[in-house]
Amino acid sequence: MDRHTSVSRSFLAVWLSVLLLAPTVPMAGAAAGERGAGSGLDVGARLTEQQKILHALNRLGFGPRPGDIERVQKMGLSAWIEQQLNPASLPDTAVEQRLASLETLRMSPTELIVTFPPPQLLRQIARQLAIRAGMDPEAGAEEIARELGLRRPGRAPEERAGRQNPPASAEQRRQQMEQLREELRRGPQRIVVELSQAKLIRAITSERQLEEVMADFWFNHFNVFFGKGAVRHLTTSYEYEAIRPHALGKFRDLLGATARHPAMLFYLDNWMSVDPKAEADPRDLRRRYLASALADGVRPGQIYADILRNQGLDPSKYLGADGEPRGFGRRQMMDERGINQERLLQRLNELQNQRGNRQRRPEQQQQRNLGLNENYARELLELHTLGVDGGYTQQDIIEVARCFTGWTMRPLQLGPKFLFVPEVHDRGTKTVLGEKISAGGIEDGERVLDIVARHPSTARFISTKLARRFVSDHPPESLVKRMAETFTKTDGDIKAVLRTLFNAPEFWSPEAYRAKVKTPFEFVVSAARATGAELEDFPPGLLLALRELGQPLYFAQPPTGYKDTADAWVSTGGLLNRMKVALGIATNQLPGVRVISVAARADSPDALVAELGERVLGEPLPEQSRAALTEQLKKGLAESGVQGAPEPAARLALGWLLASPEFQRR
């Protein structure tokens, strides 16, 4: 079963049980007293200096933390922007220390596979051991899986179904939380939880705010979906090796890194795209995979041994001395051409049929016909570079796909890695966007990347998307044009394009001020920043909140990624959930997220609303809102009839402000 659906449901169950349990917001009285109010939002023909700083903090980063505005004021806005454009110059040790506990971030794909083996690999192991022991491959495999304590992949639907019901009692909730903690410790879900936590921690606490914004932007631009098979074990490497190093670099480098990364090759199916006319067949692919693994010192079957060892079992009990599962020795894998995994598979099938004493079904043995797969080619043109109106045809897609035949990846059990297999590459002449490509090797794909990275449509498409992220949902044409010019002039230098953007009057115009509605990610991150909330590793409250808000990190299924325009995020259910999350954060009802203290100086409802309003929004709350909110706060205090404890009242006001329409914008 698709693991991710059950993962998400178990998260959900806990989330529902925790957050939606009618949070009681304790109220208490506060001393009376009046103080003057702040002014309303003042957007004139030009932004004030203060507004400019706030605008920059909201756009180049994820919103101000308390004190940020003063800091930027002190060092000067342009110096701060320059610093953000050169993140390496900013020390960020606090973040690195905070991330030290997230171990999976430092694991290679192979280590992740060994530590959190995918269900199909576990099945394979149990199966092969069963065959070796002369047992029925299925019944035996199940028995062995139980014996080895290997986690059985998948759960019965009833069991899964039961997990979706919000638990009834506190004890059940506690048990469910424990179960979730255990699942997160051992299961592949831990990979995505740690990735997400790291992304949140960086966005909330890193000094390198622009770098985080761009890492998020590019991951989303070159989206891969964590829920799709092998992508689970490849996403960490994808983000940290393909995306982040190039976030402010050259577009062509970024594009090339994504094109060759196994996560992308798998997600958009290019790994199985082969020339349908090639004489080679899937066996050649397998042979190449094995040869490549051996060349890297990876023995076939080694990963099995590592998995067993990692489960606390002695591999030699189960596997041959050479690391192969016993009964499938090296000799059987060799023939005159070298390694032949096909023989291994054949032998496996024979044994299966002997032992299982079952009818041989030829359909089952049939190779899946591989052929040209256009998925990557299409998305490369449509989403990664030229844009849907970028001036390419269906024939261009086919020609690009032909250029990328043979761009594949070594499968998980052999240590995933980019691999070019010439035998299945289409060596014929291709014509892409009018240019002939005929080198006939790996250069064909690289040439395509050169062409599309430097195409004027790409300059426009990327500039538009950046302007949409930084300026408004419908950015001014004049700005996009200048950014595209910079893109072309600098050969796709992302930093240079951003400089053009940050120097543009359109960026600083009153029309752009608070014009963007925050995505759920921007909302929770900015809320944590504004309140100084601290994140615990477990339970991952903000991550669960993002799932509720419709933006589970790394789970955008379509290659388009998540939208960053208001139409995608403004809905009744979405707004209700933002309100709940806002109140949840402010009152510490969101598991694993703590606002230690509101620490308001104010001693009256009026002063409290004014002070917190300015703290949360970075500028005074509009007068009408301030007055209305103050009235509500006073009313609540009067109803509660409790005296002299302003903290709960401050938390309520804080929750209101995080839920306010003003805070939903940046």
Binding site: Q364, T560, T572, L575, A628, Q632
Partner: protein, 417 residues
Amino acid sequence: MDITRRFFLKSSGIALVGMGALPSFLVRAVAATSAARGKILVVLFQRGAMDGLNAVIPHAEKEYYRLRPTIAIPRPAKGNAEAALDLDGFFGLHPALASFKKLYDQKLLAIVHAAGSPDSTRSHFDAQDFMESGTPGIKSTSDGWLNRYLGAKPVESTSSFRAVAATSQLPRILQGSSPALAIPNLGQFTIRAGRYTETVRGGLEALYGSSGDALLTPTAKETFEAMDVLERLNQAGYQPGNSAQYPGNPLGQSLRQVAQLIKANVGLEVAFAEVGGWDHHVNEGGAQGQLANLLRFFSESVSAFVTDLGERMEDVILVTLSEFGRTAFENGNRGTDHGHANAMFVIGGGVRGGKVYGQWPGLEREQLFEGRDLALTTDFRDVLGEVLVHHLGASNLQLVFPTYTVNPEKFRRFLKA
């Protein structure tokens, strides 16, 4: 109506002059019984790919039994509880679908076999995506077909409850420019804070009421209104009609809530629910086992929904989708792998039920799609198209399925004229 609510309404420019000032759907909710009853579509997605060949069994096909030596459902036989329930001498229902057999006999259930998406992908994610976007093969479609239907058939006064998904996130099928609610649990579409509930909500309403935000304020208004309506529904409690018994699983609960909304006459027109767990690669089981268990609670949930709504089913059609079918032959793990065409269930008072529709492609080797899967003879958009046109009264299917020309000639005519 307390002070805060008045404040909110006043500041958002709505004068409180009796009932006339209330949004029309609220009026409808208040005056529930007299409201005109519109047609309703419920889409039920079976995520993970149901094994249509073991749900609706071609028991007259010899090949079926040859391809599935351990998981085939025996031919119909009196007294054999493990045998298929015969429908028409050729097809039979899985014995765990006994409650569907009743609906079939009552002519409320029609089946379209060998239906689905023409795209050959065998990726769950891509195939679900295609079935929800309604544009197989095109991954960049940003909205879902059910949402585009809402846009293609604008109504005068839009109810917040016109489109509701019984899911925590708005599913792909309902994403798009027309408003739609995702309500996993009617009782939880609310903000509660014990005895401070009114205070907490009052503050939120005050903030949105005093803001002139052209986008967020109207949305907040809808949110609070929906909350009020649901509050009233929740206070009234819900007793399913005709002693219907919903199973305790999430699908049962989802459908129970959809029924509750339908009967509350809050303007519901399209609803979405889902049920996962159909991906049986290993030990799928035959008459008993994993698939059987799932089919049982699936069909019993749907049957409870039909029982609950009773006469009201005249206005309602429920249609099922699953991203693709499964291999015609069983695999080495006594399960089935990802295949192609599948069976779709269409249930409702307006259905010419008691029949299996579509063209049967056969299971002989050369009849199979790519030599392994049930071939497709009905595009899912022709099934949905018939429902949209003849049940909901949609006129412009080009907007709903932009990459497909829905041709009424191809409708299977499973609906009453």
